[in-house]
């Protein structure tokens, strides 16, 4: 007697009555049934909840990376750490480091697939609106910056090529900065001041997503983090005009002078599959041009792939936990079903005497087991859907429930029932009717 034969025997009518019969038997021992199904309930529930949390977290990470632009390679200048010894004698001199125009023109000329580059310079100093001020960063960049970096201009407009060419004293404020400097009044049309230069505000742009998210995560801990979102964008030419090649910064009595040609450059590659080779080529150019590592390279696509890989590993771990918990649940069910079969030996004998075939008995117990695990699965799905909602509500964490997760978890719970129900069911069917009838 094989399982396909059993399935062929199953007419809908019989199934309906077997299900009712199973319900009755399970209902007779409500507490026992509930406890038996618990293993499956928690297994299924934890799988769905963990998947939703994992999916949410990785979605959040991927979103951040995507906002950096998956076709971009971002280069940033960093103060080299190993320059301290060499810089000992030039202590009072100007610190010179970072990405240069030469790097950029070489990249533009030699790396295949480079569409555009967005150079940017940065000045860290106080930004003023009358009496209000904040320690923010002023970034000199190009008109296509918002497009390349996926940042929306929320109000007003971004500056144009003509304004860059004419070195106009205009600026676009990040949302946080606009809020800070103009808590009550309209920023557009007004002016802000850095050192002794004035800039007219022409637009407000969305905060840098990477900065915004990291400051959100760290909560109220850092006023410094908050500073990072305080960003003002002006034409790169204007920045050069007003603050020169050497950027001076006065801070708590001492002063620093830095000469950095470009603080940041974004290289846009034409197709996604050329991003990684281009990144490699750029790395070579930079390695050749810079003795010290005074730059960093961020390849969002690479980060994205790594995030996906991490997610895969996470899913494998989750899958194993799920499998283990379902096996444990299945063993629990099998244990109880074996006890049930023994307990109901007499009933089995009666049914056999009254005309039940072996396969009728197998079906009866198999359906009962599957109903037990299926009900556990349903309950688990319900809890598993509820937990992410609660987590999102109270912990402000993004969770994503994919349709396949509850469906898969439920089907596996049903399959667990079949798998662990087969042995007890066949044991029940294998009983000798005479002995079963004599059983006390």
């Amino acid at each position: 007697m094989s399982v396909p034969v059993l399935i062929r025997e199953l007419s809908f009518f019989r199934l309906k009555r077997s299900v009712l019969l199973g319900l009755k038997s399970l209902w007779l021992h409500k507490l026992r049934s509930l406890l038996t199904a618990m293993g499956i309930v928690f297994g299924v529930c934890s799988v769905i909840a963990m998947l939703a949390i994992g999916e949410g977290a990785s979605h959040e990470a991927q979103q951040q990376i995507k906002e950096l632009g998956s076709q971009n390679v971002i280069l940033r200048s960093v103060k080299p750490t190993n320059k301290t010894t060499a810089g000992e004698q030039e202590r009072s001199l100007i610190l010179e480091y970072g990405i240069t125009y030469r790097d950029i023109s070489q990249i533009q000329a030699t790396v295949p697939g480079v569409l555009v580059t967005i150079p940017a310079r940065e000045l860290k100093d106080f930004i003023w609106n009358e009496a209000l001020s904040i320690d923010g960063s002023t970034r000199g960049t190009v008109p296509w910056f918002p497009d390349m970096r996926n940042r929306k201009v929320q109000r007003g407009r971004f500056f144009t090529q003509i304004e860059m060419d004419t070195r106009a004293p205009i600026c676009v404020l990040s949302r946080s900065l606009a809020r800070h400097l103009f808590p009550l009044s309209e920023p557009i049309g007004d002016t802000v001041r850095i050192q002794s230069s004035y800039f007219r505000v022409i637009g407000v742009i969305q905060d840098d997503p990477a900065v915004a998210n990291s400051s959100e995560e760290k909560g109220a801990t850092g006023a410094t983090d908050q500073g990072a979102a305080m960003e003002m964008l002006i034409p790169i030419t204007t920045l050069e005009d007003h603050f020169g090649e050497v950027l001076f910064k006065y801070r708590s009595g001492s002063f620093e002078a830095e000469k950095v040609e470009l603080h940041e450059a974004t290289v846009r590659i034409d197709t996604p599959d050329r991003v990684m080779p281009a990144a490699e080529a750029i790395r070579h150019i930079l390695e050749r041009n810079h003795k010290d590592v005074d730059y960093t390279m961020v390849v969002p696509l690479d980060l994205l792939r790594r995030a996906e890989r991490t997610k895969q590993i996470f899913n494998i771990v989750l899958g194993s936990i799920a499998a283990i918990s379902l096996v444990v649940g299945g063993i629990g069910i099998m244990n109880i079903m074996l006890a049930t079969v023994t307990e109901r030996t007499r009933e089995i004998g009666i049914r056999r005497a009254l005309g039940a075939k072996k396969k009728d008995i197998v079906m009866q117990f198999l359906i009962e087991t599957v109903m037990l695990s299926g009900a556990g699965g349903l309950l688990g799905v319900a809890l598993g859907l509820l937990i992410p909602i609660i987590i999102t509500h109270f912990a402000q964490m993004e969770t994503i429930i994919q349709l396949w997760a509850p469906i898969l978890a439920f089907s596996i719970s049903v399959m667990t029932g079949v798998l662990f129900g087969i042995y007890p069911a066949f044991r029940a069917a294998g009983m000798n009717p005479v002995e079963a009838l004599r059983h006390e």
Partner: protein, 238 residues
């Protein structure tokens, strides 16, 4: 009381033996039983404890196979059937009544009566009609949705009788059907048996009660696994 030799026997045992292996010794519970039972027979099987009555009933009821010999039920050689076919035969041709009622505890009166019909593949509606009708016939019309634990012993045995009748069997087998009952409710059950036989049913009753031989039309006495006395054969040979 309708018994006539001209009819084909509904049951025929030819040289049936049943052996049990108990460690090293072979126990012969039945040693060569030849028996013919005709439609409408009303038989009591009597004998001392351990003489093989239950063993014989198990074989007659197709619950067990003879070790030696042949068993024809309604012309079919049952001793050669597969397990599935034996189930089929039990469900179609036989009705069982046990000493300890053997009702299914989680089912109601009507549902218990429906069990054999379920395995015969009758629809819910058909089997419900038959079951309710039978429950009324055994006087349980007010107890249709009660569970066995809510019934007296006599009532439970009446449910069992209704269940045995539900598939309209060729033969009804009863093992000590009144053994657990007081004389009043036992008497009620026996009256139902009388009535069933009067309606033409073939009944085989296994009993300790000597009084039963007066009630039934035919008496068989077993001794050490053999038929020591058969009132019909005595009649024939006499």
């Amino acid at each position: 009381m309708v018994s006539s030799t001209s009819l084909e026997p509904v049951i025929e045992l030819r040289g049936v033996e049943k052996h049990y292996q108990m460690g090293d010794t072979l126990v012969k519970a039945l040693r060569g039983v030849d028996l013919r039972i005709y439609p409408g027979d009303y038989i009591s099987i009597l004998g001392p404890s351990g003489c093989g009555k239950s063993t014989m009933l198990n074989i007659l009821g197709c619950l067990d196979q003879p070790s030696v010999g042949q068993y024809f039920l309604d012309g079919i050689d049952v001793s050669k059937l597969s397990d599935d076919n034996l189930s089929q035969v039990r469900g179609k041709k036989l009705g069982f009544i046990f000493q300890s009622y053997n009702l299914i505890q989680q089912l109601t009166v009507v549902e218990n009566i429906e069990v054999p019909l379920y395995y015969q593949g009758l629809s819910e509606k058909e089997s419900r009609e038959i079951a309710v009708d039978l429950a009324c016939r055994v006087g349980l019309s007010k107890r249709l949705d009660h569970k066995p634990t809510e019934l007296s012993g006599g009532q439970q045995q009446r449910v069992a009788i209704a269940r045995a009748l539900s598939n309209d069997p060729a033969v009804i087998l009863a093992d000590e059907a009144t053994g657990n009952l007081d004389s009043k409710s036992g008497g009620d059950i026996l009256e139902i048996f009388d009535q069933l036989n009067a309606d033409g049913k073939t009944l085989i009753l296994i009993t300790h009660d000597e009084g039963m031989s007066k009630r039934t039309s035919r008496t068989i006495r077993l001794k050490d696994g053999e038929i020591a006395f058969d009132s019909r054969r005595e009649e024939v040979t006499a």
